[in-house]
């Protein structure tokens, strides 16, 4: 019995290694990231002291990088839901090594994204006004509610499937046993506990999907509920959700490839996982293109003058390079790479994912700035040049994301060990039974 347990532990030893062994690389990475974050904090405090004038925003472009990054980061948070919830719901077995990475992305990126509107405020010291004098009629408050709900739900949804793994860490001993014991909530793998946990996860995985869809729909409402040309479009809700899932999958792929390389997880994150996710990325790219095409065809066909101002600004005007860059990054590069098996290697998928992340950031830029830069009534077109402050806060936000991820992987296994074990022990039979039940024959053969 003891030898069996030892053998089992050794099977997944690679997943425990990052927690128990800390190399120089870890300290160096954390050190550099902390330095970047401290500098960013200083720059932000400077912005609060002097006012938002230190940014590049002006009249009429009153929203800039902070809102672009807000939408961008919250968009990436859809990675967790899609993979974890939908794949769990559809009983896709290849999700097992991926779910935790995806859920962690969501939790960290939601926190970062949710902070961005506060970074954008002219009076962040008054943010508590939202609680004392808020208006639920404003799309911004729909956002606050929705993001809080999603953050809570995804944190719970990250935590619950982590409990058996935390219990494993507690039982292994070594370091910080009291911490893992506290978090394990008394899990000992009994039948009753397993039932409770699986029931809770099943309820959550269904609940999380509409909450996640509502988050990015509500963010799109910030724009579509105004009367501005280029914003007041009914397609924004689904458009943003598709874009979010698109950028989320790309970010997840990048994270997976990074961890596969740095933690030597080639046995767990195999080419097939990347190929499947790559196919999903391809589908989302085509969907994204369909929505974008619809949006602009509608605008151009109607030829409403203010709408056309914004469209020409994007197609041939100042923002042409960003707009067409976005189309290349979001559609041309991913489709070429992902549609052909020859290019669909891990390196190719990495290039496609990075391209999509950049392209989706450009898309957020193309949504926020051009409509603001082209005010109605023949007023002058505005110009927006982001300042050093805004770039620093962008880099700082990315640094916070990376740091959060690195710290998470130091304390918890980045791949769900118990789900891999469950996959080894139970899934093969279960899937065999399931497939047999699809095939022709009397109903009670497999039962």
């Amino acid at each position: 019995m003891i030898e069996e347990t030892n053998k089992k532990v050794e099977l997944d030893e690679a997943l425990y290694r990052p927690i128990y062994e800390t190399g120089k690389g870890f300290y160096l990475t954390v050190g550099v990231l902390l330095l970047i974050i401290f500098i960013t904090l200083f720059i932000y405090i400077r912005q609060v002291y002097y006012g938002l004038g230190v940014t590049g925003m002006n009249q009429p472009i009153t929203w800039g990088f902070y809102i672009v990054n807000f939408v961008f980061f919250i968009g990436i948070s859809h990675a967790g839901t899609l993979i974890s919830a939908i794949l769990r719901l559809s009983k896709a077995e290849w999700r097992r090594p991926i779910t935790r990475m995806a859920e962690v992305i969501t939790a960290i990126v939601l926190a970062i994204g949710g902070l961005h509107p506060i970074l954008d405020l002219g009076r962040p010291d008054r943010v508590l006004e939202i609680f004392t004098a808020g208006r639920l009629q404003s799309p911004l408050l729909w956002d606050v509610t929705s993001i809080t709900a999603y953050f809570t739900a995804s944190t719970v949804y990250l935590y619950l499937p982590m409990i058996p793994d935390i219990a494993k860490l507690r039982d292994r001993g070594g370091k910080m046993v009291w911490f893992y014991e506290f978090l394990a909530w008394g899990w000992y793998g009994t039948e009753h506990q397993k039932k409770v946990l699986s029931r809770a996860i099943n309820i959550l995985m269904v609940m999380v999907i509409p909450i996640a869809i509502s988050v990015h729909t509500v963010i799109s409402y910030i724009f579509s509920m105004t009367l501005q040309p280029g914003w007041h479009s009914t397609i924004f809700g689904p458009y943003f959700v598709v874009g979010a899932i698109f950028s989320g999958i790309a970010a997840l792929l990048i994270v997976m490839i990074a961890f596969r390389r740095f933690f030597h997880l080639e046995n767990y994150l195999k080419l097939i996982h990347f190929r499947y996710l790559g196919t999903l990325l391809l589908i989302m790219s085509l969907l994204w293109f369909y929505f974008t095409f619809s949006e602009y065809l509608t605008g151009i066909f109607g030829s409403e003058p203010h709408e056309m101002d914004v469209i020409f600004y994007k197609f041939t005007g100042t923002y042409a390079i960003f707009f067409w860059g976005m189309v290349v990054c979001n559609f041309l590069i991913p489709v070429v790479i992902l549609a052909f098996k020859k290019f669909k290697t891990i390196k190719g998928i990495l290039i496609a994912s990075i391209s999509v992340v950049i392209g989706m950031w450009l898309e957020r830029l193309n949504i926020v700035i051009p409509s603001l830069a082209n005010p109605r009534m023949g007023l002058e077109t505005g110009m927006y040049i982001p300042s050093l402050t805004e770039w620093s806060l962008f880099i700082g936000a990315i640094a916070v994301f990376v740091l959060g991820y690195v710290l998470f992987s130091k304390f918890f296994p980045i791949i769900s060990i118990w789900e891999i074990e469950e996959g080894r022990k139970e899934s093969v039979e279960e899937v065999e039974k399931r497939v047999k039940s699809y095939l022709p024959g009397p109903a009670n053969v497999t039962e």
Binding site: Y50, G51, T62, P124, L141, L227, Q228, L372
Partner: protein, 227 residues
């Protein structure tokens, strides 16, 4: 309940810009330094739109003074998360400087770009500090502000009218821009008062409003034979 509205006669307006200057002085609006002004951060509650139409040599120039239109269906109040911008019963769209958190959503939502933002702490040269208007509250950095139809003048006039136990007469309450216009192109008054100048002008065949199709119901009427 009076409903305050403005009528601007574009056929009389010479585009001199007196209304802009009067507004800035009356409302203690910050003077923005030239660099910032170049970047597009000029703070004007009464803006003067200069619109060029046509190609040389057939260029048409339009100079249109643009205050806040104090819409009856304002898009800005719908989106404010903290109720810092609101419409009162007399049709004035107000801004609570002490509550504004500076999210600038109202600025993004206004189709007329009527609102301005304090990107830095407002500063004045020493010479200006002696001619500030004590009736108008000073704003601080990070809040949105806009034309208020000189509501502080309304408060004063209301007090006087209450003391004398009468209604406000037509022409008694005039914002600074209307007062200062040398061409008498800006009219101001109560739309509910059928005898007021503004009511009559609003029904003139020359009257139009900007972007009426958006349904914002602006309360500044422009009068022009050209449009």
């Amino acid at each position: 309940m009076p409903k305050w509205a403005m009528a601007i006669d574009l056929d009389k307006c010479t585009g001199c810009g007196d209304c802009m200057a009067a507004c800035k002085l009356e409302n203690n609006i910050a003077i923005v330094d030239p660099e910032q002004a170049d970047e597009g951060r000029v703070m004007l509650w009464m803006d003067m739109m200069t619109i060029y139409e046509g190609e040389y040599p057939n260029i048409k120039v339009k100079r249109i003074p643009k205050p806040c239109f104090h819409c009856d269906n304002p898009p800005c109040i719908k989106v404010c998360p903290v109720h810092a911008t609101y419409i009162n019963e007399e049709g004035l769209v107000g801004q609570i400087y002490n509550r504004c958190i500076g999210c600038r959503y109202c600025m993004a939502a206004c189709p007329y770009t009527a609102k301005v933002f304090n990107w830095y702490e407002p500063e004045w040269a020493d010479e200006f500090k002696t001619c500030m208007n004590p009736d108008v509250s000073m704003r601080m950095k990070g809040v949105v502000e806009k034309c208020s139809f000189c509501a502080h003048r309304l408060l004063k006039v209301k007090e006087t009218a209450d003391v004398d136990d009468r209604q406000i007469a037509d022409g008694e309450y005039m914002p600074a821009c209307a007062d200062s216009c040398p061409a008498d192109a800006i009219f101001f008054g109560d739309l509910e008062n059928k005898e007021s100048k503004v009511y009559q002008l609003s029904n003139s065949p020359r009257a139009f409003r900007e972007l009426e199709n958006l349904g914002t119901i602006p309360k500044v009427f422009y009068l022009s034979e050209r449009e």
